[in-house]
Symmetry: D2
Subunit: 329 residues, 4 copies
Amino acid sequence: MKNVALFGAGRIGRIHAANLAALPGITLKTVSDPLIANARELAAAHGAQATATIDEVFADASIDAVVIASPTTTHSDLITRAAQSRKHIFCEKPVDLSVERAQACEKAVADAGVACMIGFQRRFDPTFNEAKTRLARGDVGTPEMLVITSRDPGAPPVDYIKQSGGIFRDMLIHDFDVFRWILDDEAAWLSATGSCLTDPAIGQAGDIDSTAVTIRTKKGRLCQINTSRRAAYGYDQRFEVLGSKGLLACGNHRPTEVVQATSGGTSVDNPEHFFLQRYREAYRLEVTHFFEQIQSGGAFRTTVADGVAAQRLADAAAQSFESGQPVLF
Amino acid sequence: MKNVALFGAGRIGRIHAANLAALPGITLKTVSDPLIANARELAAAHGAQATATIDEVFADASIDAVVIASPTTTHSDLITRAAQSRKHIFCEKPVDLSVERAQACEKAVADAGVACMIGFQRRFDPTFNEAKTRLARGDVGTPEMLVITSRDPGAPPVDYIKQSGGIFRDMLIHDFDVFRWILDDEAAWLSATGSCLTDPAIGQAGDIDSTAVTIRTKKGRLCQINTSRRAAYGYDQRFEVLGSKGLLACGNHRPTEVVQATSGGTSVDNPEHFFLQRYREAYRLEVTHFFEQIQSGGAFRTTVADGVAAQRLADAAAQSFESGQPVLF
Amino acid sequence: MKNVALFGAGRIGRIHAANLAALPGITLKTVSDPLIANARELAAAHGAQATATIDEVFADASIDAVVIASPTTTHSDLITRAAQSRKHIFCEKPVDLSVERAQACEKAVADAGVACMIGFQRRFDPTFNEAKTRLARGDVGTPEMLVITSRDPGAPPVDYIKQSGGIFRDMLIHDFDVFRWILDDEAAWLSATGSCLTDPAIGQAGDIDSTAVTIRTKKGRLCQINTSRRAAYGYDQRFEVLGSKGLLACGNHRPTEVVQATSGGTSVDNPEHFFLQRYREAYRLEVTHFFEQIQSGGAFRTTVADGVAAQRLADAAAQSFESGQPVLF
Amino acid sequence: MKNVALFGAGRIGRIHAANLAALPGITLKTVSDPLIANARELAAAHGAQATATIDEVFADASIDAVVIASPTTTHSDLITRAAQSRKHIFCEKPVDLSVERAQACEKAVADAGVACMIGFQRRFDPTFNEAKTRLARGDVGTPEMLVITSRDPGAPPVDYIKQSGGIFRDMLIHDFDVFRWILDDEAAWLSATGSCLTDPAIGQAGDIDSTAVTIRTKKGRLCQINTSRRAAYGYDQRFEVLGSKGLLACGNHRPTEVVQATSGGTSVDNPEHFFLQRYREAYRLEVTHFFEQIQSGGAFRTTVADGVAAQRLADAAAQSFESGQPVLF
């Protein structure tokens, strides 16, 4: 039986808490959140204890692992502290908005010899993961081209956007990780462009809401990513990979399989509303994977090094967009 | 907090146990199964106690409700005993293969004043339930025709078939319930035919494996049901209802949304393998509904009367098939 | 080069005329219609001559073949006269609403030694025909069950319905032919029911608008047909056949492949509006087949005997509906 | 009645000849091809006369219009000659591989006052055209992003590739035209990359087979185009446009609507094999449009100016790929 502490009792923290509660052999012992009311409510729902501090967690020798679901700005400190306290670490993406600090985390974890997994949950989505499995098995031959469509149903508040690090670091970080995972290759050339098309307030905050990124890999493979902060029809999460022997296309998940036909047309459900719905199963599977690999000593599917690599691509995309020139690696 | 006892530690019992364990405010106290090893294993997984007898359950005044997932032949006795012990009852379908005994259960429950819900889980399937909601809301006008396709991936062992009551009572019981639920109407005329086409051993056991049933309702609406014990491509569970203003069609659920295109064709996943996969969410939702309605005093979506009504239709279908003549109601 | 005469310059006659005009080696010589203005207009469009009589056609020794697209009541006379005049015959379905007269046509054709093909155009629909080809090739094993969905976008005028022979002879005649073609088997037991649900005027005219027919074949295979005179979403023409090794399902054709997703849902085009659109290619292919087989001396895919057999099933369905009892063959 | 001459009796010439033959009011008078045997065969099939020269066509005052379906290298000469001879012109894409020569054609046509349409047939594809209509009508709001997927089933012979002008001019010319047509905007920034991934012989011929192009328009809209010379599953021709209120996605056309489900999966037909099949209807519609607009004096949907503009984009893409830098307009 392993004892776990959770940092962050917000939206994503509640998802992790429920998944932890259902895992055999795992006890959610402590929920830490500076908003102690939130911590208490979530802790009570799962028979855990609440604290407003982080020190209490690190001082508790009975805690084997921590799950970090607090704001991005706290990630690198918590990873470093957890590593120093010899606790295994599951941390939500991103490691840090700064590649340097992310690399420092990587070193801290390595020095301490603890296991640290980064929550790129898309790698655990049943559809995406099945595509990866088939691709790796050679079902469509050698990969040549990847097209990623990644659109949010609507933009977050402008206050969030201002401190988000920009669309490439905040939103495309997932797509850059998918790119590396699916093509199993690294960028050689990256070009990014974009516009502010959905809301002038985003532009006034110094960001854009629509982007188009192209990457050529070291092996000459091609990747195109198109993203938008707004899709009127819901959370649009698809990719397709062209291989020498065929195509694997990952479609959206829909709440139901009802087809309705009237004089106005034949329609199906729109995609799942947003990431909490679409990736519900992925969140469950990634935490399961975390504890399985700790138990078995196996490698994580998503490491701190993956987090650093995705961050580098986000930095390069931001640089390319600002300069109007491609970035070479 | 409510204490619950579970009868039956088999395949479906394990599903219910896991769902009970995840329900806030519910404690699975006892697992009862004559195969005590099974009872113990399942009880241990959820921190419950095990017993090989049923008397222990009924003698335990702390138990508020029972979930009956034991073989069909035990259902009516357990319902009657539970009613007499003033425990609320969730019972897997069917109530009983005999309409008379099912009616006796209905009376026992009414006399005792306990709540009793029958596990017609399809009414809780998200897709089917959404179709019902839209139909009730008038999205496609007044219903006129219902076509149900209901095919198992493969036949059960012949030993099971011999004591199953026949395909109409064993397999179509669900479809008869869907018919009543979706059309919100009762049969006036029913005609059934069928054949043994997939395995001669089924015919030698006195049953058939392929059926075609047609019902005309009291309001003149039409329903056709086609079923088979074998579908090479998986568990085929669909229905579509034609209304005066359009169509609602419920498609199969698939494990993933991967589309694969090669020189051999463009393919999607086959349907979920069988009922444990397809109705996983429905099993969770029906048990949630059971405790919510007990709590609120609201009516169940599926009552003992529904179980009796479906059984009557199954009897009529068997009679029609044997006589080659329609049955009038 | 073959000279052809066309009887009937109405809706379906115009379709045939255009297809004849595009066939290499075929000359549309004469268009015959008692409404001479219609005959003249259609003839002029294709460089043919017009006549209001039928005698002129049969007296013209240069005419090798006739295409009969005039009203149903004229079919048997025209077939008989054409056979006597030693002209090959393509005749729209049905041969005749009376099985006896249809059989008389069969004999007249055989006696004269001319070729006579009946226009069951669905056998030439690219989708349906591909399904038949795969079924015959064994791609899904041995057929066991056929489900036909056949719904018109809206009912014809009541005046038409009054003289149509009733829904089984007017509308299901096509479905009965599909049944025989796809299952390659004959009916042993047939049960039909139905209702008037879409328009009371249809009931007042002595007909119904919604039917459900079930057939068990001599080999024990099962077929269910559901039809309606009204489908708000368009012309719904589908069937699916379950085989021992899988399923073949024929979906509707749609005008375009545009998918539109808005906040209101994700939608595709409704099916092609009606038979002239859906079976446009089938009409072209059946006439091509007619002349190819005349040229090569090969057998037609749809013979007068097929027309007679479909008519018998329509009669049986009408009888079953009226008596409330199945018909045995 | 208009007399037409056709240049080129090859694959695409035969398509045009058949479509011309079916047009009321149009007579295909002459087929010109230096391979006189081909010219004769095609002319005979449609009752036309054949010639191996072009002079004969231009000297024939009875010819009102020419259809140019000869090799690309002949286009600009034929356009110029036809303009000088005051004949209306339908010319297959591209106008010319050189923007300068294409502009000279534009001037020659304007000076002569004849009508000249360029055969960008995709604008006439029923699916693509329906998407354009809905977009123009505002059904999904203002366009923001366009993603074009354009993949051939297999590469042409290397000898063809050597003289094709390269993938951007030979294959993407269509996609550049679709970009301009759908977004109704012009490029401000274009970046292209690519690789040789399918066949080293293509690389040895100095070309690539896989490309990824991104365009930002003057209005800030984004477009991504991904193309490959090889798609194992067939001719993949799709685009989707994201608007402020939704998405319009154009899917592939398939030969039939058969769905086959076996233990190996559930599959539909692969896309139509190649452009002759996919754009069969588009070829018919564009020639119809040509003569309708000549008759009415209306504007063509695709002009020489469109041909010049697409050629400029192809040049820019080639330049961007070679330099590794974006091109600004």
